[in-house]
C-alpha cells in the first residue's frame, strides 16, 4: 500500500523529508508519497477524511480535536513529536525599536482606532500562545490592548511591509525571509520564551494508531531525527528540504543550524537548539495539558472539561513506547 503523508512547507517538516529522501521509509518497506498541503485546516480535513494517513501537524490540532472543537468526527491523535521549538516572534523595525514605549504606542494606536495588529498562523497553534505570553511579559493584555489575527505565513512578510501587520509569530523560514528583506526584526524565539517545547507532531486518525504501517513510520522518523541530531547533517538537510519547501537552501540555514540573525545587519548569534528534532519524540502529556490550558485562557475552550482524558486520547506515549521502546 502506498502511504500519503501531508506536510506544510516549513523547516520543521525536516524529519519527514529526510526520511523520504534518504530512503528510510523504503527501508521499512513503506511506499510514501509526501504531499505539500497549504493550510492547517487542510491538514486537519485530509486527516479526518483519510485522504492522508499521517501528517506534519500543529500539536494543538489533535488536542483541540479531542476537546471537540472540530466537530464529532475529528478523532485525531499523535504518538510522535517531530520537534521542539523553532518559531520566531518578529515585529516591524519601528515597533522592535520601541522598547519601553511599547505600552504607550499600543495605547495611542488603540485611541486612533487602528490597534497594533499581530498575527499567528492558526487559532490553536503554539504561535498564538507564544504571542500572548510575550505580550503579557511586555505589560500588554492580548484581549484588549492589541488585535490578534491569523495570517498565512506566505503572506506575513508582505503584510508587515505594507503596515497591515505590526508583527507575527511564525515558523521558519518565514521570519528569516522578513528579516533578510529588512521588513522585520525578531524580538524573541521559541527558545528564548521558555515555554513547553512541543511544536509539531505526526498526527494520525486514532483508528490508524495500531496499524503496522504507523509503527513503521515511527521507526523511520526516529532514524531521521537521529540523523538530524548531527550538526553537520543540518547543513545538508537544507539542500534536501529546499525543493520540498520551494525556498532556496540559504533561507533554511538560520533555523536548521541555529545561526539565526534577528535583523538584516545583525551578526548571526548561535542559538543552541533553535529547533530540536531528536530525544524529544515521545509525546509529553505535561505539554499537552499546557496547550489545553492556553486554549481555555484564550477563550477557545470552555473551562469545565476533563483535560486529563483529552490529553490521554490525543497524546499517546504508550504507543510510542510500544514501537520504539524507551528511546
Amino acid at each position: 500500500m502506498k502511504l500519503r503523508l501531508g506536510y506544510i512547507r516549513l523547516c520543521d517538516a525536516a524529519p519527514l523529508v529526510v526520511a523520504c529522501t534518504l530512503g528510510l521509509f523504503a527501508d521499512e518497506k513503506l511506499r510514501v508519497e509526501l504531499i505539500a498541503l497549504s493550510s492547517w485546516a487542510e491538514v486537519r480535513d485530509r486527516l479526518i477524511t483519510g485522504d492522508v494517513q499521517a501528517s506534519h501537524c500543529l500539536a494543538g490540532i489533535p488536542l483541540a480535536a479531542q476537546a471537540g472543537l472540530f466537530g464529532p468526527n475529528a478523532d485525531l491523535a499523535t504518538a510522535f513529536t517531530l520537534n521542539h521549538f523553532g518559531n520566531a516572534l518578529t515585529l516591524s523595525p519601528a515597533l522592535a525599536a520601541a522598547g519601553g514605549e511599547l505600552q504607550e504606542i499600543a495605547r495611542q494606536r488603540r485611541a486612533q482606532g487602528r490597534p497594533l495588529t499581530l498575527a499567528a498562523v492558526f487559532p490553536v497553534a503554539k504561535h498564538q500562545y507564544e504571542l500572548r505570553h510575550w505580550l503579557v511579559t511586555q505589560g500588554l493584555d492580548p484581549e484588549t490592548d492589541v488585535r490578534m489575527v491569523v495570517t498565512p505565513p506566505p503572506l506575513v512578510a508582505a503584510a508587515l511591509r505594507r503596515g497591515n501587520l505590526d508583527g507575527f509569530c511564525v515558523g521558519e523560514p518565514w521570519s528569516t525571509r522578513a528579516i533578510l528583506e529588512g521588513s522585520g526584526v525578531a524580538v524573541a524565539t521559541s527558545r528564548s520564551l521558555g515555554l513547553p517545547g512541543t511544536e509539531k507532531v505526526l498526527a494520525v486518525r486514532s483508528d490508524w494508531l495500531e496499524d503496522p504501517a504507523h509503527a513503521a513510520l515511527l521507526r523511520a522518523l526516529h532514524r531521521a531525527t537521529q540523523w538530524l541530531a548531527e550538526p553537520l547533517n543540518r547543513v545538508a538537510a537544507t539542500e534536501l528540504l529546499a525543493p520540498y519547501l520551494g525556498r532556496p537552501p540559504e533561507e533554511l540555514l538560520p533555523a536548521l543550524t541555529g545561526r539565526f540573525s534577528t535583523h538584516a545587519n545583525a551578526e548571526a548569534q548561535p542559538i543552541d537548539d533553535f529547533v530540536r528534532f531528536h530525544g524529544i519524540n515521545s509525546p509529553e502529556p505535561a505539554h499537552a495539558l499546557w496547550y489545553l490550558e492556553q486554549m481555555q485562557a484564550a477563550g477557545q475552550l470552555p473551562h469545565q472539561l476533563p483535560l486529563e482524558d483529552i490529553v490521554q486520547r490525543a497524546f499517546r506515549p504508550d504507543i510510542h513506547q510500544r514501537v520504539l521502546g524507551t528511546r
Binding site: L22, G23, E33, A41, E42, D51, A159
Partner: protein, 192 residues
C-alpha cells in the same frame, strides 16, 4: 442590485466560471482575492457561505473567524453530516472547501456545493500534487537502475544493493536519488 432574499456567498480566488454559475443559481456573489482582509469583509458582508480553494493558505484565517464567532460561516466538512458531509468530502477532493453559516438551510448548503463542484476550475493544488508524484516516480527510476547496476557489478542481493545506496546517502549527506545518480555515473565512466 443587492437583494435581501439572495444569500451572500464569498468566493475566494474562484474564477469567473464559478462566479457566473453561483450568480445564476441565485446567490449574491462577492468575489475576492486570497490576500483580502477577511476580518473586515466577514463583518461587513455577513456572508451566508464562503467558497474557497481547498489549497488556499487563507483558509486558516477563515478558521479563526469561525472560532471567534459561531455565527460566522463554519467548515461544512466538519459540522454537517449525511449527504452534505459526503458532498463536502467530494468537494474537498476536487479542490474546493466550503463554509456555511449555521442558519443556512441544509438544502441550500447542498445546492451550493453542487454548483461549486460542477464549475470549480482545476486548482493549483491538484496540479502541484501531480508534479510531486511525478518527481517521486523519476526518483524511483534512478534508484531502481542504480540497484540493478550494484546487483550486477557487486553481486549484491536486491536488499543489500538498496542498503548500500541508503548508507551512501546518509554518509555523504545527499538524497537517495543523488546517491543513485553517482553510482550510475561512476558505472558509465568505468565502461568507457
Amino acid at each position: 442590485m443587492s437583494n435581501p432574499l439572495q444569500p451572500c456567498v464569498l468566493l475566494v480566488g474562484g474564477g469567473e466560471t464559478l462566479c457566473a454559475a453561483l450568480d445564476a443559481a441565485g446567490y449574491a456573489v462577492v468575489s475576492v482575492a486570497e490576500d483580502e482582509d477577511f476580518y473586515a469583509l466577514i463583518e461587513q458582508r455577513r456572508p451566508a457561505a464562503v467558497v474557497i480553494s481547498a489549497a488556499s493558505p487563507s483558509r486558516d484565517t477563515l478558521e479563526h473567524l469561525a472560532l471567534l464567532n459561531r455565527r460566522h460561516p463554519q467548515p461544512i466538512v466538519l459540522f454537517h453530516d449525511g449527504q452534505n458531509h459526503e458532498l463536502a468530502v467530494q468537494a474537498m477532493r476536487a479542490g474546493i472547501s466550503a463554509y456555511a453559516a449555521r442558519d443556512l438551510p441544509p438544502e441550500a448548503v447542498r445546492s451550493l456545493i453542487e454548483v461549486a463542484l460542477l464549475h470549480f476550475e482545476q486548482t493549483r493544488a491538484l496540479r502541484k500534487e501531480l508534479t510531486r508524484a511525478q518527481q517521486t516516480l523519476a526518483e524511483r527510476r534512478w534508484v531502481d537502475r542504480a540497484k540493478c547496476r550494484l546487483m550486477e557489478t557487486e553481486s549484491l542481493s536486491e536488499t543489500a544493493a538498496y542498503e548500500r545506496l541508503r548508507e551512501t546517502a546518509m554518509r555523504e549527506r545527499v538524497s537517495l536519488e543523488q546517491a543513485a545518480r553517482t553510482v550510475l555515473q561512476a558505472g558509465a565512466s568505468d565502461e568507457t
